[in-house]
Amino acid sequence: MSDNIISISNLVKRYGDNVAVDHFNLEVKNGEILGLLGPNGSGKTTTINCLLSLLKYDRGDIQIFGKPMAPDAYDIKSQIGVVMQNVAVIDTLNVYENVDFFCGLYIKDKNLRKKYVEEALEFTGLTDYKKYKPKKLSGGLLRRLNIACGIAHKPKLILFDEPTVAVDPQSRNAILEGIKKMNRDGATIVYTSHYMEEVEELCTRVVIMDHGKNVASGTSSELKSSLINRETIRIGLPNKSPEIIADLKEINHVYKVLEDGNDVVIKCDGGEHNLVHVLSYLSDNNIPFGHVTTELPTLNDVFLEITGKELRD
């Protein structure tokens, strides 16, 4: 068996004339946390539904654990955990019963299941809420219950579809720490989110989807290094003049200088000491300046550059 836990090749899914997934390819290696990013409607959830064999697709091949995925591939399904985008729990069952019910679909042995359920509750910090009905839980606790239901059976592959939507920072932090721990314990994780900082913090590799295609992939650093803009320096210059602007453009690695009110925004395409060079020029020429900030590119910049800044549905 290859090292790939998931292999998707040439996946095509159409809804009428609309191509939701367009010859999409993906490989997820054992032990990695893969971030699947994309704007709304880019085809992330459709891809996950196809991956789980819930959706029919028009073309392509999906293999999980080296075997073709199918609705009745129970041996594969038994090793997968799914945390849905929307909370998928049963309102009339309490926290313990919910986790026990879903865990019971995977684990038949009663004692083992009990152990797993207790561990999942402890892992998600829900032990004190065992007897609570979902409606009594806060948004964060409910999300944690959603996770507990998806991971209690200790799957080898876990798919998280935007698990931290509408969650407060404390709960989000707890969820992310939990995911890291699951990965350390050996689970391979596919994580979709709109929160770039989460993906940057969590994922060992990132795939960006747009219009159903794989438009970029790599580690966070690799993706950032693909950007032209590598550093943005903003300086308050009340006495700026066309000559000063022209001089700034001459500094090594500066490729663009923009005026923004009393500020000047300097964009650099590389180099390691750009700020030092800019400040040296100002000080050598006795040009007074105010505040100075510098920003390195983020995954968000990569995402916006690749997918565009226009609003999506």
Partner: protein, 381 residues
Amino acid sequence: MFVRIFLYKIKELTRMRSIVGWNFLFPLVLATAFYVGFGNLIKEDPDTFKTIDVGYVNTNSQDSPFSELLEELSKETDEHIQVLNVQSFKDEKSASKAMDDKKISGFYLENGDKINTVIKENGLASTTLNQIVRAYENAKFQLEEITTNHPEKIEQAIKLQSKDLNLMKEHSFGNNTSRYLQYFFALIAMSSLFSSWISTSMLNGICANISEGGKRFECAPANKLVAVAAGTLAGMLIQSVSNAIVVIYIQYVLNINIGIPLGETILITTIGSGIGIAAGTLIGSLLPNPKYHVVVPLLFSMTCSFFSGLMWDQIKQLIQYKCPIINKINPAALITDSLFIRATYGRTDTYIQNIIIMLSMIVGCLFISSICLRRRKYVSL
């Protein structure tokens, strides 16, 4: 897997307020409302058969076959209620006194070969008492004729006479025939069909094209049809218990005699629950959008119940006259019809036919549903 899902579905469904309210409490409230409206009319309905207190005076020195017939009609069995409550008197005078004191409706005076029926007032009781003597004398005459002229056919004749006697018990003295009882039968039918939204709720957690919970379920290594079967059985059990509670409430708390042995009433209502559950499963499998999962079963239950006489007891007769096929495909009409026929005429061919149609409907709905629900991959979610 089956047992676990079955037990969890029971837990899940019995904790749903809508099910507790509509399937358990609402029928009891409606039964109480009907009781307030027609309870006394049923109890005082002149058409309602009541056991007849009758006296028996035998001036002959030995027991007669007629006394054996009276003894048979004094028993209550699964087939018929107790027709007669016979009290023996030594002489005509003491029997007349008991009749004057209204302890008995009338009495039979057997003297030699002759049996006289002595009654004080005309009515259902007097007609019944006369009918019994007439039937007995006809049978006796025919047997004597055959014994004399065709002794070889005596065995066959006895068999026929015995069948005639059974028919008399089942048909003439079936049970409760009050027209107002129809409302309670229609209520039981409505309650049975209310189980249709138990099914749609049950499917909600199993099918990926209905809910997120369904998606999670279908991601698990669990056989979907086993889960649907477990859920269907759980729903049917819940509704059968609810129906049994309604029947017991009507019979023993409201004290309205349904006229059918309790076990058999529960059997009919359990089949009714099966129809409701099967219909709901079919609705859920054909209409995956959850926003229809209460509206459509509600419309289905109320429409069927309306045409079975829930709001106007004559509508079923009107349909029977104009378009009888509707009564044969309306599950609520089949349930009320089965209850009515069983209460009035006993286990007739029509009763058996209705039961078979209902069972066929259950099998048919579940079969079509299973074809629709077998699908594990969807075109869209």
